[in-house]
């Protein structure tokens, strides 16, 4: 399981935690996030995220 960070606002998507409030179940891998998904904080596209090691 990995973490991904929005390059614009710093929001972190953690695959372990998912985003239950956004309808994304815990354990959802980055590859399984829909392509039209947007950063919940700043609204930028999935393509504007980088993988991060934290």
């Amino acid at each position: 399981m990995k973490q991904w960070q929005c390059v614009v606002c710093g929001f972190i998507y953690d695959e372990v935690a998912g985003l239950p409030n956004e309808g994304i179940a815990p354990g959802t891998t980055w590859a399984d996030i829909p392509e039209d998904w947007a950063c919940p904080d700043c609204g930028v596209a999935k393509a504007d995220f980088d993988m991060v090691q934290i």
């Binding site: 390059v7 614009v8 606002c9 710093g10 919940p40 609204g43 930028v44």
Partner: protein
């Protein structure tokens, strides 16, 4: 050789214009001039850093060197621009160097508003508006047990909540009667105040700070109702004022911000403004979503395809974990009233216009989960 596109500033607006521009134009020369270190960080994270357990160093997402490499740009950090010579299309730096520009983008941000107050500690009141400010604030917090926060707006409440993560007692002072008073109806504000109070935030409503006096290693804040608060540090968070001085001195039209049209162009061709310093259609909106809309539109214009900026509905997340909130306030002058659905764990507040449509909302606590469902029902901000 064609002069570069020059961006003044290195905050979210500046770097997102640069990033969007580079997606469209890989080769035109690009120069970024910043008065600070020019490293990239996300300003909204400054008011949640303690909860996220991040130091100032960890908040820096990318250094200026790394940004220069990624953006194929020249980045001049710690460099002051003293004037813009509109007719020659050039800017003058603090050391008298002249830089010609093809197009100039003002992304110089805003200054924290400082309310006048008396006392020999008034000049020690801090505000946190950039990463260097945050680093300073963080150092001053090392031995602090209590912090007075002037202003219960979005930033004041976020800092108050965040200080709890460091076991520091936040004491928030505001002249209104509830938090986020310009964004929330009172019943929703009272709900938020209760949740923050339960978590450990103290509030003083209906008062202002009249004086801050140094006392030992800390300060005494004298309120307008004569209450005196002994605290270790005082933080001011009462709002922002666009930086317009450079533009005004160059003869550009300024109002609350640097006035731009829907192409984000100032009153002079080849000079644009974005972010906290810009006033678009009468609006200065210091939030990430409008900045992203501006960055995309301006990048296209700079590439040669004139594009107007449009604002969809842009709800703002308030990062107060004790009472998370999402707010989309109705446009100034909207006529209508708030309708609230309240439960134990949250509030859905909808501002319903007289025509029966929803003109704004505020979602608190568990109701924040309805953001995605309700946002499509909001009016667009700029069509």
């Amino acid at each position: 050789m064609t002069a570069p596109v020059i961006i003044l500033g290195s905050g979210l607006a500046a770097y997102n214009v640069a990033r969007e521009f580079r997606k469209l134009d890989k080769t035109s020369a690009l120069t970024i001039v910043s008065r600070d270190h020019a490293g990239f960080y996300s300003k909204p994270m400054l008011s949640n850093a303690f909860s996220a357990n991040k130091s100032a160093e960890q908040l820096l997402m990318k250094s200026a060197e790394k940004m220069a490499e990624e953006l194929n740009a020249t980045i001049l950090g710690h460099t002051k621009v003293v004037s813009i010579h509109v007719h020659n299309q050039e800017v003058m730096l603090g050391d008298d160097t002249i830089l010609p520009y093809r197009d100039l983008v003002l992304a110089v941000g805003a200054d924290p508003i400082r309310l006048p107050m008396g006392g020999d500690g008034a000049s020690d009141v801090l505000s946190v508006n950039d990463l260097d400010d945050f680093a300073h604030f963080n150092r001053r917090l090392a031995s602090a047990k209590s912090v007075a926060i002037l202003g219960a707006g979005l930033i004041g409440c976020e800092f108050a909540n965040d200080l709890l993560a460091r076991d520091i007692a936040p004491i928030v002072i505001d002249p209104s009667a509830w938090p986020l008073s310009r964004l929330l109806p009172q019943a929703a504000g009272d709900f938020m105040a209760d949740k923050l109070s339960d978590a450990g935030v103290q509030f003083h409503w209906g008062v202002t700070a009249q004086a801050v006096d140094a006392e030992g290693a800390g300060f005494v804040v004298k309120l307008s109702d004569q209450t005196e608060l002994a605290v270790d540090l005082v933080l001011s968070a009462v709002g922002l004022r666009s930086r317009t001085e450079l533009a005004a001195a160059a003869g550009l039209q300024v109002n609350r911000g640097v006035v731009v049209d829907r192409y984000l162009q100032t009153s002079q061709p080849h000079i644009y403004a974005v972010g906290d310093c810009a006033e678009v259609a009468g609006l200065t909106l210091p939030f990430v979503l409008p900045i992203m809309q501006q960055a995309r539109a301006l990048a296209a214009t700079l590439m040669g395809e004139r594009t107007v900026v449009k604002y969809p509905a842009m709800p703002v997340m308030v990062k107060t974990p004790a009472c998370p909130a999402v707010v989309a306030p109705p446009a100034m002058g909207s006529v209508g009233e708030w309708h609230l659905e309240t439960s134990e764990t949250g509030i859905v507040a909808k501002f319903m216009s007289n025509s029966g449509s929803m003109a704004g909302f505020a979602l608190l606590g568990s109701a924040t989960s309805q953001r995605q469902a309700l946002t499509p029902d909001l009016p667009v901000v700029l069509a």
